[in-house]
Symmetry: C2
Subunit: 205 residues, 2 copies
């Protein structure tokens, strides 16, 4: 990783921990191991560093299309999900998804930074919502549509079914973001959630 990239990396870490306004260019330089004025050889100013981070983020979000997919980052795996649903590997998939988003270094820092900065910039709150509400619900809703079509789960309201699957995952994710020490507890609840979800939707009309 060259200096220009390291600046983005360290800045992202700092922004995600303290927010843009509470991070000084000197902090970033120090984290990188250079002096503050040297930053300006790589980026026009502090805002340009922030903007560059957003660009990287947008690019990554685009790559993983409907982020917070059922399989996390692999649409191929998702595509096969409704074929093997008989074994209730929905649990394993849900946990993988959760852990991927919780532990993937970039994803995690982006999410925390967005959480802090979203109210200052309407565009950021739109990105946050798209990434953590609309896209997951849309993508997962499509998958559940297939699963229901296969007769593996039953419902007359797929959007609500999707919300029932996803909202607890999202909620538990926000808990772990705030207090990583609660990960074990949340994973346990997550597993119980999916098992019960499967049970509730598995044998009703």
């Amino acid at each position: 990783m060259n200096t220009k990239e390291r600046i983005l990396d360290e800045a992202l870490t700092l922004f995600s921990e303290k927010g843009y306004a509470n991070v000084y260019v000197n902090d970033i330089a120090e984290a990188v191991g250079i002096k503050a004025p040297s930053l300006y050889k790589h980026y026009k100013n502090k805002q340009a560093i922030f903007d560059a981070i957003l660009e990287v983020m947008y690019a990554r979000f685009k790559e993983t299309a409907g982020s917070l997919n059922i399989a996390g980052d692999n649409a191929d795996v998702d595509a096969g999900i409704y074929k093997s649903m008989e074994e209730t590997d929905l649990v394993q998939l849900g946990k993988n998804l959760f852990l991927y988003y919780l532990h993937d270094d970039y994803t995690k820092r982006f999410r925390k930074m967005l959480t802090i900065e979203q109210f200052r910039d309407k565009a950021l709150s739109t990105v946050y919502m798209d990434q953590y509400f609309d896209a997951p619900l849309s993508y997962q809703g499509m998958l559940f549509g297939l699963i229901v079509q296969q007769g593996l789960l039953k419902t007359d309201n797929i959007p609500v079914m999707t919300l029932h699957f996803y909202a607890p995952i999202y909620t538990l994710l926000t808990v772990c973001d705030r207090d990583p020490s609660r990960e074990e507890e949340c994973l346990k609840l997550l597993e119980e959630h999916i098992r019960k979800f499967d049970e509730l939707y598995g044998r009703n009309t």
Copy 2:
């Protein structure tokens, strides 16, 4: 409302919109209609204003005990909920709760401020989690325990049942906080969520 209170009120509005670091004492003074130096006759410094806001917040949170209760802010109403559950007024109660937390002016601004500032201060993230995760789940879990005892709803896992009820409400609340124009859409989903929740847990073992 005297000047001292108006300072807190305007500061809370500004902090919830831009975050502590992005609000200058001059902004607060301007909002109140006085000059910045006059603020210092009421509060020792900027941080003291923030701290005073937190105190008010803690006091209010304490008043409404297990905030995000089923009935929002009225434990008496909650206490009677499991007697009249036959009429599925769970929907109305859920909507009232949601709307109370969405529209109550103080609650809303506190929540947004906490969202922005929580990562800077461990204590704040603890307050946030307690207020929007632990307390609601604990309180609602107790109520669902009673409801289940009455045989009105059925489950072998009350914590997960409570999560299933609350997580969608929480998730939809975070959507409306970010984009108030989606309130109608979210209310519709909320209502469908509770109806389906009632259906799923109403006729299973």
